[in-house]
C-alpha cells in the first residue's frame, strides 16, 4: 500500500493534511478517468489514435463519417462530370480538402523590434483569416524564418494567389525540411487548383505512407487516374 494511503489512514492526521492527500489521490483518479474518456472520444469522433494508423476495428461512427465524406466527394465528382468537365472535379475536391480543416498559426510573437511587429501583425491577420493582409505583412519581413515562409505560403494559397504560393513553398523547401510533409500536401492541392494535373500527381506521389494526409493523397491519386 502506497505512502499516501498509509498517511491518510494515520491517527494523527490534521484536517489540512487529510484534504491535501485526498486532493492528490482524487486528482490522479479523475485524471486517469478523463484520459480514458478522451482517448475513446478522440478515436471515435476524430479518428485520432495513439498509434498513428487507425485500427481496422474503428468505431462505427468513424466509418459512417468516412462513408458520408466519400459520398459527398462522389456527389461532387458526379455532378461536375455531368456538367461535362472532367478536370474541374478534382480541383473542387482539393478546395474541399483545403476548406475542411481550419488552419491557424500556433502563436504570436511579442512584437518588440520592427521585424517582430510585422511578424505579429502577419500572424494576427492570418488567424483572423485576412490572408491577403497577412501575406503583405509577411512580405515586409526582412529575414523570414522557415515558419514565416510556411505561413506566408499558406496565406498566399488561402487568398487564392496560387502561383506565388507555389513559389513560396519552393523557397521554403530550399531552406530546410521542417515543413516538408505539410508543403507536399498543400503544393499538391495548389497544383490541383491550378489544374496542373501532372504536377499534382508528381507531388502527391511524394507523400509517403507515414506522412501527413497519406490516405487523402492516395484517394486523390486514384481519382486522377480514373479520369
Amino acid at each position: 500500500m502506497n505512502d499516501k494511503i498509509h498517511q491518510l489512514l494515520g491517527p494523527n492526521l490534521s484536517k489540512d493534511e487529510e484534504d491535501k492527500i485526498l486532493g492528490q489521490i482524487l486528482k490522479e483518479k479523475h485524471d486517469a478517468d478523463l484520459k480514458v474518456k478522451w482517448k475513446t472520444k478522440l478515436e471515435n469522433e476524430y479518428g485520432i489514435t495513439r498509434n498513428k494508423h487507425i485500427s481496422k476495428n474503428k468505431n462505427r461512427n468513424t466509418f459512417i463519417k468516412i462513408l458520408l465524406a466519400t459520398a459527398a466527394c462522389i456527389a461532387v465528382v458526379v455532378t461536375i462530370q455531368l456538367a461535362g468537365s472532367s478536370a474541374v472535379d478534382v480541383s473542387l475536391i482539393a478546395q474541399n480538402y483545403l476548406d475542411e480543416q481550419e488552419i491557424l498559426h500556433p502563436g504570436t510573437s511579442k512584437g518588440v523590434s520592427k521585424e517582430e511587429v510585422f511578424r505579429t501583425l502577419a500572424i494576427q491577420s492570418f488567424n483572423q483569416k485576412e490572408y491577403k493582409q497577412s501575406s503583405g505583412y509577411y512580405q515586409s519581413l526582412t529575414n523570414p524564418d522557415q515558419e514565416d515562409l510556411y505561413y506566408h505560403g499558406l496565406a498566399l494559397l488561402l487568398s487564392k494567389d496560387y502561383e506565388n504560393a507555389l513559389q513560396k513553398f519552393e523557397e521554403n523547401k530550399q531552406t530546410g525540411d521542417k515543413y516538408a510533409q505539410e508543403i507536399n500536401w498543400y503544393q499538391s492541392l495548389t497544383f490541383l487548383l491550378l489544374k496542373q494535373i501532372d504536377a499534382a500527381e508528381d507531388q502527391l506521389e511524394q507523400i509517403n505512407p507515414d506522412d501527413w494526409n497519406y490516405e487523402k493523397a492516395q484517394k486523390l491519386l486514384e481519382q486522377l487516374k480514373n479520369q
Partner: protein, 188 residues
C-alpha cells in the same frame, strides 16, 4: 481576440471554468479535442517527436489545462499560444523522464518532479472504494477536490447550509477511509 482563445469569448471562457468546476467536461472537450491533431503535428514538426510521444504530451497538456482552469491560473488572453508552449514543455519533460533531452533551455514546469501519489494497485483500490460512495458524496468530493470549489460555493449552489455540507464532506471522507481501512486489514 477570440482567435487567440480557441474561438472562446470572455463569457464562454467563464462558462467553461464554471462547467469544469462541476466536472462537466463537455464544453471543454468541444473546444480542446479539436486542437488535438494540430498540436500533435506541431510537436512532431518542431521537436521531431514521434507520434506516440506527441500524443501523450498533448493528452497531458489537456489534463494540465483543465487543472489550471479550475485553479484560476489561466486568464483570458492568448490561450492558443499558452497551450502550444505548455505542450512543448510537457513533451520535453516527458522525454527527459525517458532519458531523452532535446533542449535544456526550456523552463521546467512546476509539476516536473512531482511523483504520482498512487501506484496502479492503489488506484484500483481507490476506484473500488469510490464506487461504494453514494452519488451525492461523489459529486461533493469531486466538486471540492477536483473542481476546486469551496464548500461555501457548493452549499450556495445546492441551497444547503455550509455546516450541512461540511458535515456531509466529513461523512463521505470517513466512508472512503473506512473502506481503505477494511482493505488494509484484509490484506494484512
Amino acid at each position: 481576440m477570440k482567435q487567440k482563445n480557441f474561438g472562446l469569448s470572455e463569457a464562454s471562457f467563464q462558462k467553461l471554468i464554471t462547467d469544469l468546476k462541476k466536472n462537466d467536461t463537455y464544453f471543454f472537450e468541444q473546444v480542446f479535442l479539436k486542437q488535438f491533431e494540430e498540436t500533435v503535428r506541431y510537436l512532431c514538426r518542431e521537436y521531431r517527436s514521434n507520434h506516440e510521444d506527441a500524443y501523450d504530451a498533448t493528452m497531458d497538456t489537456l489534463i494540465e489545462f483543465r487543472a489550471r482552469f479550475v485553479e484560476g491560473k489561466l486568464a483570458y488572453g492568448n490561450l492558443r499560444f499558452l497551450f502550444t508552449k505548455m505542450a512543448s514543455q510537457i513533451l520535453l519533460r516527458n522525454l527527459k523522464k525517458k532519458g531523452i533531452s532535446l533542449d535544456d533551455s526550456i523552463v521546467a514546469m512546476s509539476q516536473e518532479d512531482e511523483e504520482p501519489a498512487l501506484d496502479d494497485e492503489d488506484l484500483e483500490m481507490l476506484t473500488n472504494a469510490w464506487q461504494t460512495l453514494g452519488d451525492q458524496c461523489k459529486e461533493l468530493l469531486t466538486r471540492h477536490f477536483y473542481g476546486k470549489m469551496k464548500l461555501s460555493e457548493i452549499a450556495k449552489e445546492i441551497q444547503k447550509s455550509p455546516a450541512t455540507i461540511r458535515k456531509q464532506k466529513e461523512r463521505c471522507i470517513k466512508h472512503l477511509k473506512d473502506h481503505f481501512g477494511l482493505k488494509k486489514i484484509l490484506k494484512s
